[in-house]
Amino acid sequence: MNGNSAVRRRAVAGVAWALVVLWMGPQLSAREFPPTVPPPEAISFRLPVVQQLPNGLRIVLIERHDLPLLTLYAIVGRGAEADPPNLPGTAEMVADLLPEGTKTRSALQIAQAIDQAGGTINTGAGWDESFANVSLLSDHKELAFNLLSDLLIHPEFAPQEIERIRRQTLSALDIVTQDPSYLADVVLRRFLYAGTPYAHSEDGTPEAIRHITRKDLVAFHAQNYMPSQTILAVVGDITKQQCLALATRFFGPWKDRAADQPQPAIKLPVPRARQVIVIDKPDAVQTEIRVANLAIPRTSPDYYALTVANQVLGGPAANRLFEALRTRRGLVYGASSDLKCYSAIGAWIAKTSTRSAESVKATEMILDQMKRIRTHPISGQELETAQSYLVGHQALEFESPSQIANQVLEMLMYHLPLDYWNQFPQRIRALNTADVLSATQKYFLPDDDVIVLVGDVSAFKKNLKKLGAVQVIPIAEASRAFPKPEKGSAAYSESGE
């Protein structure tokens, strides 16, 4: 099975051509640096069709006809931050139950319909959003709109399905609370965002999952799933006429209701002295490390400068943390940092994991990098590299229609201006090293950060006090470090220091 003759013919022709080049081509020694190429063209981003139905549902269409695929992404503008304070996990459970039965279809009928169309249904809850996606072969266009509208508008929340999902969720929580990486993220969230609606795990706690009732689920759905808060992105092998006709037919009857009173403004936590939380997992061979500061909401004017600062410190591609911890010292497999920006709040989070004995050293190295970037301006070359990465990388972010849809959804969800992506390159290029320095001084606060370590404390106990006052929590009591199902910032103070 060595290819067919056409392939061989092409290969033979290639060989002949190659021989010519070989004789005439430059010698290897002539090349010492990669060729110089023109900078990438700026991406001129054309806003796709955005239509609004009378009930307020917004529709974004991005056509692509070379592949027989159609995907519908529905984003509802409320997620886990809208969980009732005593019932973390409600938004996720609502989303999980959407494909598990509607007024007119059982869970199995929904599964059979989507499976027969070769496709997938994907639902979940994040922060500031819940989502439901249907993706299938494009000769089932009507089914896509029919199914998605049905499960968004008419979920049944049948008692037996609730019990099934409840049981699965409890089993899953059993597993993930043994996973150091998961634990580190959840514990960090709880301390970093203490006192805000973002401080719990979107997956909930066993206690809350046991107590969520059908009434809670129905109420969450009624309050948060409405057309005026929903954006539908339609991507793939469909025309504008088909899309609007199907959207009107299946989503048109969705009744909007008056929005609730506006959400009370979130009281942002005030940075306080450093908090160090260690979860002791004696069988761990590696320690999961998180170092974080509160930062900015997505729409903050500081977003651009902080994005550049994060790019240099721990962003995608080459960065200082990776260089220091992995390339120079071989302490870790990965080291990176992220800017997580929600609608009302945000954070800068560095993460890595290292062998138990080096836990404190690796943490200190992260802190050193935070200090350095706020005391010394980044170099002109670092600035230029970060800028040209962020601008050039836009081409990759907009490669496929699904990627474009995700960018557009982000823009609409966070109420960014419609020319946001076209403005982005010049906003980034306008920054100088002083702008970046002032952002780092404002937001990277190594003395007021939250540090979480999950690992075998016995292996690094003696160095631990270098990090400051520490609270150590045995893994069996790790739930103590989870958000208590109760209101407000009281959750923070009872854990003490």
Binding site: G3, L22, P35, P38, P40, G118, I121, D174, I175
Partner: protein
Amino acid sequence: MITRSSSFWVRWLLGAIAFFFFLASGRALGAAGLPTLKIHTLELPNGLHAVMVERHDAPVVTVEVWYHVGSKDEQPGKTGFAHLFEHLMFDGTKTLGEHFSDYIVRAGGIDNAYTTDDATVFWETMPSSNLPVALWLEADRMRNLDINQGTLDNEREVVNEERRQRFDNPPYGTVIEKLYQHAFTIHPYRHLPIGSAKDLNSATLQDVKEFYDTYYVPNDATVVIVGDFSLEQAAASIKKYFAPMPRGTHSISPSIPVEPPQTAEQIVKLVQNVALPAFVEAYHIPADGTPDSYPLELVSKILSAGDSALIYRKLVYQKQLALQADSSANFSEDPNLFFVFAVMNNGRSLAEGEAAVASVLDRLKDRPPSEQELQRAKNQVFFELAQDQETSKSLAEQLGYDSVILKSPDLINTEASRFLAVTPEEVQAVMKKYFVRRNMTLLEVYPNQTGKGTLNSEGGAH
């Protein structure tokens, strides 16, 4: 198929098997509604192959360099070398020093690499004007890599951390490794690409230099380019940068022992610090691209693709025995394994789960799937194949795999028909042939709860 993507058990399960199954679904078809691709191939006198597909829908290009060396080429006592070497390829060249990634980053590109049982793959996705840069960089590290004791020692530590992070620390992280150690007796698939820490610690500079000289040569490499470029310019760049390299002088085809047929069922019991019991059944299956591989891929869809699929419906939905249940055919260059696995719900026993799986498998052995069941599976395969063409990276993956592992660069245009032609009786035939007890290794994981169980941490095979 319904996935609750933000649901953490799905994330967890995918995470646990992702490294391992990276290429498991590597397949493509090219009929009935999928575009027919113009695939251009090239072979240089030094043995380097290139496979190229032009697509101008976005100003992006992906370059992959496939070296036909993976963990199955490693000798006993030297496991993990292919993967360790993948790391060393990022540590600088004599020409450029350590500035490889500067060129990727400044262009806004991304790059990485991975190692499987069969191949080591390096890739860049870049704004398309940077194609010559990517090719130059790849040619440079194919020829001029600076291997020294310092980078070797450092990468060894990094790989040890990778091992801890991906295998030793997460729940169930070592299950697949244990399974392969038992399911294979002599074929090198019995060790995973991550290898053993002991072997890595004994790797010498001489060892890795030899590895480089043997395998990182043009006659062991295939360059794949997909995206927004001109064929003439790409071919010229390939020739300019790669043609001056001499062909390798070492033999690159070690004789790989053939795994003898399994003759008796094996049961392996593990006690681990996990919350829930789990089991994996593994059945030996033939290599990818063989006639039986097509109905077997459809079997995995009939069993577990989607919530209406047989295993999910029975174990997770109807009986609520399992938190998650799945199956997957792990096709590769040499014969590999078909997995059926489940993580039990709290309070449910492994025996209940295994009995439920047996009843599903028996049903497909006793009678062929219905036309509707089979059509569903074909639609699901077709959907995945279409998805594989969505980005330059996913398409380059396909072309590289088809060219290097299956030796059919244009398979993507014809493979659909092979799936569509599969009959219900062929599905039943592969069920009867491969899903038999004597062909199975069963691995059971018991939670290590205090006061429970006195099993050895690794019970012997029966």
